[in-house]
């Protein structure tokens, strides 16, 4: 897990996924690109398949943005932006990760235990190909550009 040094930034960005499983890496790649784009304006974490450890990674943050691969049957590259702050978000959009205790479960466990950050925004990108060793597919790569731009914009607005 790569983590920038802690600082007073109010936003924490967490990219999830598996680098070796094609489009499943989209959240990780987005996190890397966001780190390059905004430097110290937010804390950026590449969390890979964090599962329940997501709770620990969110700890202490007021505002969290998660980026993960999604699979709801919509067109590859479709971007979902969901606000998990106040109520559960649809598990149908995210594949039960290759680990049963996935992103959605971790968020709901955090909520049940009263440790969910005040604001949690989840960006999901619909995947196409998640075979081992494949690069991002073209539609997902295009969606990645947009997700990165939107999150960078969110962070800049937060700092304005």
């Amino acid at each position: 897990m790569k983590k920038d040094s802690p600082h007073s930034s109010a936003i924490r960005i967490i990219g999830l996924g598996n680098d070796m499983r094609g489009d499943d890496a989209v959240g990780l790649v987005a996190a890397r690109r966001i780190r390059q784009a905004i430097g110290n304006h937010a804390q950026v974490i590449e969390a890979e398949m964090a599962g329940v450890d997501l709770i620990e990674l969110m700890k202490g943050a007021h505002s969290v943005m998660l980026i993960d691969a999604a699979r709801s049957g919509q067109a590859p590259g479709t971007i979902h932006r969901l606000d998990a702050s106040a109520s559960p978000i649809g598990a149908q959009i995210f594949p039960r990760s290759s680990h049963a205790f996935g992103t959605i479960d971790a968020l709901e466990l955090a909520r049940a235990m009263g440790v969910l950050p005040a604001t949690v925004i989840v960006y999901g990108v619909e995947v196409d190909n998640t075979d081992a060793g494949q690069p991002l597919s073209p539609l997902v790569a295009t969606a990645l550009d947009e997700v990165v731009a939107r999150i960078v914009q969110d962070c800049e607005a937060h700092h304005a």
Partner: protein
Amino acid sequence: MTGKQESKSTRTIAVDLVARVEGEGALRVTVKDGTVQDVELKIFEPPRFFEAFLQGRHYSEVPDIVARICGICPVAYQMSAVHALEQIFGLQVDGALRDLRRLIYCGEWIESHALHVYLLQAPDFLGYDSGIAMAKDHPAVVTRGLRLKKAGNAIMTLLGGRSVHPVSVKVGGFSRVPLKRELEALKADLLWARDAAIETVRWVADFDYPDFMPDYTYVALRRPDEYPFNEGQVAVSSGLQISANEFEQHFTEHQVAYSNALHCTLHGSSYLVGPLARLNLNYEHLTPLAKQVLADRRLSLPLRNPFHGIIARSVEILYALEESLRLIERYEPPPVSALPVVVRPGIGMACTEAPRGILYHLYRIDGDGVIREAKIVPPTSQNQSRIEQDLRLFMPRLLHLPDQEVALACERVIRCYDPCISCATHFLNLDITREGAA
């Protein structure tokens, strides 16, 4: 989620997911005239894709690639890989480097077992449909479980560079070894965790367990001097004891028509790997404290009830914490972080004890150190026939129940084996077909 299709003679129940197993798969049960005819567990296997993906890669890339097969047991994949490759190169990793490998494996067991005990299986015994629902009523218990898991994470993060996909394990040793004081900094949390692990064993030992004791063949690594992680002979409860090199002479993978996964059998029969098998075959190597905690709860081995897997897992958490403290206590940094490798062509095999049981790797490499063949047999594939057989044995006591309750009970049986279906399956749908009289 349960769906139902009915006709005059058959009834089919479909459950889209078996929740709280590590990943997803599919189960099909056929009942005819009130008797269970067939049980088929379908799984898909990412390791198979990785076997092909590894061909043509340099041996030095293998630990990093196989770590990504599974987010729950990356160390196991790395360890079986480096041991198999080291066999080809004639390397024997000893001393502090061997201890560090044992230590990082302890971290993985603690992390994986704590997740399963607290969030995946305990809800079955306490009447909750998920760990999340349980957390609402028992926040202190779940907090204890998460803190235990964190103690395992801390070991993996220090030794592996990070907790999810460790990057420092390599053929010959590590890319970096810790300082003594870095390991000592873990001690306070590990001591807390050891006490929490004792509480965990006591907690799970008091659950109500169904009376169910199939006749198992247990398979686990065994050594004369220690509880197994990285090394040992493959021991069978019948008395057979072989080296990993002989694994494929005794254990055979079969294609089954209903699944793209391979089933592994021992001389044609099912067998059990994992914490229950390990504990039963290695009881004498437990620490006095772990033995005492078991004795206090009047638990005598062998444990033969698969539902007692949660007890075995809890005892192994305790063992792994005590072993971690012992290894840290005696640690002195090794003179080199990794032994030098002289590449030579050959074939190597290794078994190590993943949290869920024996993980077999085979590699054949050429003179340039390039992988020409890779074979991976994960523990869940080995337990698959046994899970099916146990479902067949358990099912008769469920048949009077409505379909949905049968499905939930099957899920509870499947969860006993902590199937790391990320290693073995993606989507677990449950179909029960009832033919003739229901």
